[in-house]
Subunit: 336 residues, 2 copies
DNA sequence: TTGTAAGCGTTATCAT
DNA sequence: ATGATAACGCTTACAA
């Protein structure tokens, strides 16, 4: 059973294929009655214009691509919801690809999407990504791209960011104000802006409160990373009084290991995470964490991308910084 | 900056486009030297064959589509990993769309994917889905489809399933053997096979142990559903001694509400969930739950789909049933 | 208002 | 071993 084409429909109705085409893109003059007739018959025969052929000639697809490092943390799925909400409203379909923290896969994903003529891309870089030149080349080819959250500084594209510096400062300050000293920061992937900014905020909180610089441990974003670091600390006997982790996953990883080794949270070790995960309010003890406006990030990125698509060629890269919230929970309450 | 095409490359080298085409699909006779020359020049100029044009003429894309209801629970992301693993190995790209529990969106997603000539589909139905006829039509059009987990009985397609009956039986039996009686089942969306089977398993456990039929409450799969049902039970004063929920989300929703109202888990109410979520081992108390072989489900579905694509047209629908595990944790330990 | 025909970037068929 | 040329299904000047 072959797909029914514009030709079949035209023949069936005794009109030309251009007339059928016009009926489906009613910007051209066409007699309303013929159009209705054509659309009705199309419905009847189950004809839908082949988007592949359409893309080939129009060089656009009304599809946009989203590339994320992973779906495991609830952060990306939620952003995605925001993107879809805006895009579906405007008649776009959203194709999603995950790069599983591999730069090669990220590149392949982007290539697939570009080759398939998506009208634009929304990208969050994988931690491993060091190859910005690739994206720069893409930009010179006038392919609309919006980056969010995981990006790098010196690229002239639109970005949707979170004020990581400010909220890391707040989070650290919260620990300091609770009376904790000797706070350790488990930092994220070092080449990402967000990691740097969270680290800066951590440091700034110490400066502001005239404390000695806090200890920083290169950690990573995954639960395993947090587990690894916690084990190392226990082996060395360097048990921190408080921890500010670059994200919830690593915070939870560390927390679990400490708990398994008999340390009480927050009595022995206070912990604060970052990027509210689904887990934060359900684990024991509940985890204090910075909450990002996930859905809003997605919506904003989508809106920015749509603008960029509309103004094809001429556009000024914008950086939009969104606000968050510190959710204080049990893991950082000083019981003293 | 226009995309570079096969023509540009052919002209540049003074050969015909057919020769270039052959160089990229080396099934035809072509002199090795010319092929190498062409590939080298292509690399140099950054030429990649346009997959859109290729799809148009070949009517296939080396893309496969995956449609899932959501990404919020960790179940689907994990299945996805399994799918990608197999597909990338075979040179396929995986396009993912989420239908956000809306049947309209699910249909639109499938249409987009089909129109874009994916070579096959892996689908998990949304709870709301009642429209099986649509998929039946798709199957008569010889579009390879594999369903997993959320499917319906009477459709002649390949399926990757979990023995929900058996594991629901085990889970309920576990509660019974712990000495609980008057167990309540929070059931899932009623038209899905998996809901029916979990319900059957629940009932069978009672029959087997010669107990009165347990109470069944129509609930749903979301945290909110569990919360709603728990509130209703509290209002009516009908506090169950034990709960077997159709999935972890609803179990956790119910558990949280009961906890907020001062009930102790498992002392007052024991709870068992289904479909191991990330949360199960991190919440307090830790949740007893049936674990599904998520990654394996994805791999199996992918393998089945590849077979079906290879044997285009002639194939026998297979149903593969995978095994799981009951992870017993605090929420169901009878302290007596 | 409608039809004719060129062309989007490939692959496939037929020559040469 | 390579080159012309006709498809694939559609949009869009240009003609009628």
């Amino acid at each position: 059973m072959k797909h029914i084409t514009i030709k079949d429909l035209a023949k069936e109705l005794g009109v030309s294929i251009s007339t059928v085409s016009r009926a489906f893109n009613n910007k051209y003059d066409i007699k309303p009655e013929t159009r209705d007739l054509i659309l009705k018959k199309a419905e009847e025969l189950g004809y839908r214009p082949n988007p592949i052929a359409r893309k080939l000639i129009q060089q656009r697809s009304y599809n946009i691509g989203v590339v994320v490092p992973e779906f495991e943390n609830s952060f990306f799925p939620k952003v995605l919801m925001g993107v879809q909400e805006v895009m579906h409203d405007k008649g776009y379909q959203v194709l999603v690809m995950q790069s599983n923290y591999s730069w090669e896969m990220e590149k392949k994903n982007v290539e697939t999407l570009v080759d398939n003529m998506v009208d634009g891309l929304i990208v969050s870089l994988t931690s491993e990504n060091q190859n910005i030149d690739y994206y720069k080349k893409l930009l010179t080819q006038n392919i609309p791209i919006v980056f969010f959250n995981r990006t790098v500084e010196d690229i002239a594209a639109s970005k949707v960011l979170f004020d990581d510096f400010k909220w890391a400062l707040f989070a650290t300050e919260h620990l300091i104000l609770q009376g904790y000293q000797h706070i350790v920061h488990l930092s994220g992937a070092p080449h990402l802006t967000l990691s740097k900014n969270r680290l800066k905020g951590f440091k700034q909180a110490h400066t502001k409160h005239r404390l000695e610089p806090g200890k920083v441990i290169q950690c990573g974003f995954r639960t395993e990373d947090g587990e690894r670091v916690a084990k190392e600390l226990i082996e060395k006997g360097e048990i921190p009084r408080a921890i500010f982790a670059a994200n919830d996953s690593s915070a939870i990883g560390a927390m679990n290991v400490f708990k398994q080794h008999g340390y009480k949270i927050p009595q022995d070790i206070a912990i604060v995470g970052f990027t509210e995960s689904n887990l934060a309010k359900h684990i024991y003890p509940t985890l204090t964490s910075v909450e990002q406006p996930t859905q809003d990030i997605g919506q904003t990125a989508a809106t920015l991308l749509l603008e960029q698509i509309a103004n094809k060629g001429v556009f000024v890269p914008q950086t939009i910084v969104l606000n968050g919230r510190l959710n204080v929970r049990e893991s950082s309450m000083n019981p003293q």
